[in-house]
């Protein structure tokens, strides 16, 4: 190989290397830039309202009063409903697929559960408006009010649209996330663990309870946190069924509002700078919360994927 030729290839090599390096760095820059851009745009609101923004209960753009508490409340309540329903069911799905199903069933059902995640959120919203909300109004909520009506959670007029509808739809949407991550970490449990349990005479359930779940526990927690992150930031489906009223009411039947929903509905109508800034600040809070959740979740999942760290079998 002549010297000239070698020089040529090394220029190509360098170009590719530098190009890939730049693209890799751009991802980090993108993340930092997004945070900074939002902080910048939210600054007028942060300076004007300070911490009171988070504790303020009144959201009145006409009087330039902005308190985000109703939205934070609606977001948290709907996400908690979603978690309470989706975490056990998602875990059940993961156990069924990983530990019980034969391989054909696993492929088909696994694909179907993934399809739940593929349906666009606006289609869930459409279904929520015309199918879920009427069903809740006519069947579920009168039933709940009849049997559990002594709880403040299930009182009030059944209108269908409200926190219960939002929570239910979120449950459907985060279930595939929880199931997928739980499957992933349960698949990382070495088969020796299972065989050891079975060899000691354990039933299948005992094997799952003693050998699989303790091992995968922190990873499953990570999956649930990722699901929570998705629920907190989910926009369209919630916007379409939550009722969009900035109230803080104890009843799950009551219409409410979520952080993402208020951004989606009012952003293009924000007629003056402070209004826009307040909406961006809600977005910034959402950004911060999901960022922290994601970091914790990834650490938990990563700790399981690393494999066993010694014989601490309980």
């Amino acid at each position: 190989m002549s010297k000239k030729n070698k020089f040529k290839t090394s220029i190509g090599d360098q170009t590719l290397r530098i190009l890939t390096l730049l693209m890799a760095i751009s991802v980090v820059v993108l993340m930092v830039w997004m945070g900074w851009e939002m902080f910048h745009a939210a600054r007028p609101s942060i300076q004007k309202f300070g911490f009171g923004f988070i504790t303020g209960r009144v959201w009145d753009p006409v009087k330039e009063q902005f308190g985000a508490l109703p939205f934070i409340y609606g977001t948290i309540v709907t996400s908690l409903i979603a978690l309470l329903l989706a975490a056990p069911i998602g875990l059940g799905v993961a156990i069924f697929l990983n530990e019980m199903a034969i391989s054909k069933v696993r492929t088909v059902v696994g694909f179907l559960v993934e399809m739940l995640a593929a349906i666009p959120s606006v289609v869930y919203g459409l279904w929520g408006i015309f199918v879920l909300a009427p069903w809740l109004r006519e069947t579920v909520q009168p039933g709940l009010a009849k049997w559990l009506g002594f709880l403040p959670l299930f009182q009030g007029t059944p209108v269908g649209f409200g926190m219960l509808a939002g929570g239910l739809i979120l449950a459907v949407m985060i279930l595939p996330t929880i199931a997928a991550i739980s499957r992933e970490v349960m698949a990382a449990v070495p088969n020796m663990q299972r065989e050891a349990a079975l060899a000691l005479g354990a039933t299948k359930w005992e094997m799952i309870r003693l050998a699989v779940l303790p091992y995968a526990k922190s990873g499953i927690m990570g999956g649930i946190m990722l699901g929570l992150g998705r629920a907190l930031g989910e926009t369209m489906a919630v916007t379409m069924v939550i009722g969009n009223r900035p109230d803080i009411l104890p009843s799950l039947f009551a219409p409410a509002y979520s952080m993402a929903a208020v951004i989606a509905n009012e952003f293009t109508e924000a007629t003056y700078d402070l209004y826009l800034s307040a909406l961006v600040e809600i977005g910034l809070i959402l950004f911060g919360i999901t960022l922290i959740l994601n970091v914790f979740a990834r650490l938990l999942i990563w700790s399981v994927a690393q494999g066993p760290k010694g014989g601490n079998l309980v």
Binding site: S10, V93, A118, L126, K204, G233, M236
Partner: protein, 277 residues
């Protein structure tokens, strides 16, 4: 005692099967309603015509279908190359340094942040500065959602390429760059394409990042620098409107959107299956 353990076993296993059935009910519920209502409202007009004024029946979403395709194309042109190149850096040049850890961290964070956040950032950074809503802004927002998805899937696929193939390249005296472009990428090509198709399917259904970037348009956009209609945004506007005719259109739009997403998902799976055989 033994029988108690056995019954507990059966009860628990039935609960898991029951959970799986419950999880699948909404899937068939949503698909069933979309297919039933969507087919009733779907016609050739839907694909060829512009939307009619509010309250009138008929009309279509031709502009929204084309708009979705255009903005997804813009997003792919930006997102796929950036994602693949970044993934090459992570697997081929630098797997373990602090920079790679940082890039992977940023990728995870970007995957996890709500898509409406991307809409906000593009609005303040692009729409406000350009002075108008545009298809370009919409495509850019979708690209930002796409990049981390492409990086993750491409990285997984490149990691599957065995080291002996890389070493064979070097042993023949082929430069590193050429080994990557001519040997490693083609080996992983099918997997990378699969990942890209899934990312396309994902952003095609995104509504939130388009609401205040591309906005929406009842007519054809004459250039990329104008507001542009898209299927998800159009479905949202029609679904939340009080008009029955528009509700029908929303179901039809959902059927088209879901078909697009499912076809992409299925063909991505099929491509991957044929690779492993």
């Amino acid at each position: 005692m033994k029988s108690l353990r056995k019954s507990v076993n059966w009860i628990m296993l039935s609960i898991f099967i029951f959970a799986t059935i419950i999880a699948l009910i909404p899937l068939f519920g949503v698909l069933g309603y979309v297919v039933e209502h969507g087919f009733r409202a779907l016609s050739l007009d839907f694909f060829l015509n512009l939307p009619k004024a509010m309250g009138l029946s008929g009309g279509g979403m031709a502009n929204a279908i084309v708009g979705t395709l255009i903005m997804v194309l813009i997003a792919s042109l930006i997102g796929i190359p950036i994602g693949i190149l970044a993934a090459i850096y992570l697997t081929e040049y630098d797997r373990h340094s602090w920079l790679s850890v940082g890039v992977r961290f940023a990728t995870d964070v970007l995957t996890g942040i709500p898509s409406i956040i991307v809409g906000i950032v593009i609005y303040t950074a692009v729409v406000l500065k350009m002075g108008n809503f545009s298809a370009l802004a919409g495509g850019l927002a979708l690209a930002i959602i796409m990049i981390p998805l492409i990086i993750r899937s491409t990285e997984e696929m490149l990691k599957l390429v065995s080291h002996s193939i890389r070493e064979a390249g070097y042993a023949l005296g082929i430069s590193k760059g050429k080994t990557i472009l001519r040997i490693i990428l083609p080996t992983a090509a099918k997997g990378i394409i699969t990942g890209a198709m899934l990312a396309v399917a994902r952003v095609a259904g995104e509504t939130a990042p388009l609401l205040f970037t591309a906005l929406g348009n009842q007519y054809w956009a004459r250039s990329l620098n104008e507001p542009m209609a898209s299927l998800p945004v159009q479905i949202f506007q029609y679904a939340t409107s009080p008009y029955k005719e528009w509700h029908q259109q929303a179901w039809a739009g959902s059927l088209v959107l879901i078909s697009l997403v499912i076809i992409l998902n299925l063909s991505a799976r099929f491509a991957f299956r044929s690779r492993s055989n």
